[in-house]
């Protein structure tokens, strides 16, 4: 392995193509940490945004007018304002209202760190889209199918769990797929509040080594690969769930 890494040092000496995150173990660790931070942030946000989406779509079904309205205001607010400003709003403004905690060294620190705020903010942002996606999926299930279940004596809950949700989920999957890809790309915003994710670490490396071009191209490729893996995974899931003769 070391031989492989050393080859890039030779490459640098010979051609000037500087890829320190390969031959330098310190930079390598930074890059790997950044990569896993991006993956971690993505997974946390994916999870919570889907939860927000499902709960929101369920609340939108509520018989209470004001519950539905509040959900709709949430959706419109988060969809029509810049995610970066949302992030700042959470990280600087909301966080200024929160109590601080002892950091164990006698000092005070905010209760939630950058990672937590990035996760909260981005989950709400992507969740706003997911609510609409799930709602559209639920609405796409024909009433007549629900009625058939009712005529067979299914209870409301049984109908929802066994008929509505499985069908709605299949309808929603392509849009969900798209939104989740966007979410992964949006995690780069965490850079702005100094969460050490991939872009942030790459920035550190190019500041130290003055190799912006190489780092840029590497970053684009790695995001391309990351998104590619997600798209591939979601597509194969979509295929696995596909029912012959249902949908297109």
């Amino acid at each position: 392995m070391e031989v492989f890494f050393e080859w890039f040092r030779v490459l640098y000496d010979e051609t000037g193509i500087n890829l320190p995150f390969l031959y330098d173990s310190y930079d390598r660790n930074r890059m790997v940490d950044g990569f896993f931070m991006t993956v971690k942030l993505s997974i946390v946000c994916l999870f919570f945004s889907v939860v927000i989406g499902v709960v929101g779509a369920w609340l939108q079904n509520s018989p209470l007018k004001w519950t539905r309205r509040i959900v709709n205001v949430y959706i419109q607010l988060f969809r029509n304002t810049p995610p970066l400003v949302q992030l700042y709003f959470f990280y600087f403004a909301i966080s200024s209202l929160m109590p601080t905690v002892d950091n164990g060294f006698g000092g005070q620190q905010p209760m939630l760190g950058g990672f937590a705020w990035a996760a909260i903010s981005l989950s709400f942002f992507a969740g706003a889209y997911n609510v609409e996606i799930f709602r559209a999926g639920i609405e796409a299930v024909p009433n007549s199918t629900i009625e058939a279940a009712e005529a067979l004596g299914f209870s409301r809950l049984t109908t929802y769990v066994y008929i509505t949700l499985p069908l709605a989920f299949r309808v929603a999957l392509p849009s969900l797929n798209n939104n989740l890809v966007n979410l992964v790309k949006t995690t780069t915003l965490a850079y702005a509040i100094a969460v050490p994710e991939m872009l942030y670490e790459a920035n550190q490396i190019w500041s130290d080594n003055v190799n912006v071009t190489e780092m840029m191209i590497f970053l684009l490729l790695i995001y391309f690969a990351l998104v590619g893996v997600l798209v591939w995974g979601m597509n194969s899931w979509e295929r696995k769930l596909k029912i012959p003769g249902f949908g297109n």
Partner: protein, 283 residues
């Protein structure tokens, strides 16, 4: 509404009366909701307000003082968004037509470029343009300076280009193949078919996603603050710093920025939805 229900044939009534998943009252924001929003923001900032030293200017006075500057910054955001949209649309249209070209290499290269810029995060592309474009361009002995905001504009037009390319391709593909066949049977050339038959029909379909993209782009212009362009977010940060980092100012200032974008983007979103519905009926 009443008018419509009277015309409904009795046969389909049972279907229509079947238990609905949810009552059909799509919520729309109205003017009073805006006032309600402002009221909520004010109430939310009361705790901060209460903590303020009465000797210092109240946060609303401060906000008012900075408002003209912030508005100017926001106008700059709009200018960047419109220019980036124009560049991106032209480049994207070319790339999109390349994606449906009959020449395989053109098609493949266009596809690759599209995918590459579509899958990259906007912020990374912005960095890409900021750092890799020179600070000035020399053409025929003429030196054209490339200020940061111009570079940011190019940087933002890259993802726009890729997305427009996909919109064009998607629009053309969404047309039933019968249109191509019908035109071919009438001895139209491919060029004629594309420009006279296919594209005019597609423009309508492409408009809603294109507007949606514009809205996304407008919201992405704040990313330029990360690379130091003096747009609204940068100015907000500077204003806050100039006021000595008072924490009670954070909520009103950031809310104001959110509010600016909201009143600009929400009408676009509503309009997009309306167009989508309108065109969905035709097709």
């Amino acid at each position: 509404m009443n008018n419509r229900s009277q015309k409904i044939l009795p046969v389909i009534m049972p279907v229509m009366m079947a238990p609905k998943a949810r009552p059909d009252d799509r919520f729309r924001l109205q003017r009073w909701h805006g006032f309600a929003l402002v009221a909520v923001l004010i109430t939310a900032s009361i705790p901060a307000f209460a903590a303020t030293d009465p000797a210092r200017a109240s946060m609303f006075e401060v906000l008012q003082r900075w408002m003209p500057l912030l508005l100017k910054g926001f106008v700059f955001n709009i200018i960047i968004s419109i220019s980036a949209m124009a560049i991106g649309t032209v480049a994207g249209a070319v790339l999109g037509l390349g994606q449906i070209s009959l020449i395989a290499p053109v098609r493949k290269i266009s596809w690759l470029i599209t995918q590459f810029f579509r899958n990259a995060p906007w912020l990374v592309l912005l960095f890409f343009a900021m750092f890799l474009l020179p600070f000035e361009l020399k053409i025929f002995g003429l030196t054209i300076p490339l200020p940061d905001w111009l570079k940011a504009m190019f940087g933002l037009s890259l993802p726009v280009m890729a997305n427009v390319s996909e919109i064009v391709r998607g629009g053309v593909m969404s047309l039933p193949s019968g249109q191509w066949e019908a035109a071919e049977s009438l001895a139209f050339s491919r060029q004629q078919t594309l420009w006279r038959i296919i594209l005019p029909q597609c423009v309508k379909r492409m408009l809603p996603p294109w507007m949606n993209l514009y809205s996304i782009l407008t919201m992405a212009t704040v990313l330029a603050s990360i690379v130091g362009v003096s747009e609204v977010m940068t100015l907000t940060g500077q204003a806050l710093a100039a006021e000595g980092g008072r924490s009670d100012l954070l909520i009103p200032f950031y809310s104001f920025v959110l509010f600016l974008f909201f009143i600009y983007c929400y009408p676009i979103a509503r309009w997009t939805v309306r167009l989508e519905k309108k065109f969905a009926v035709i097709t």
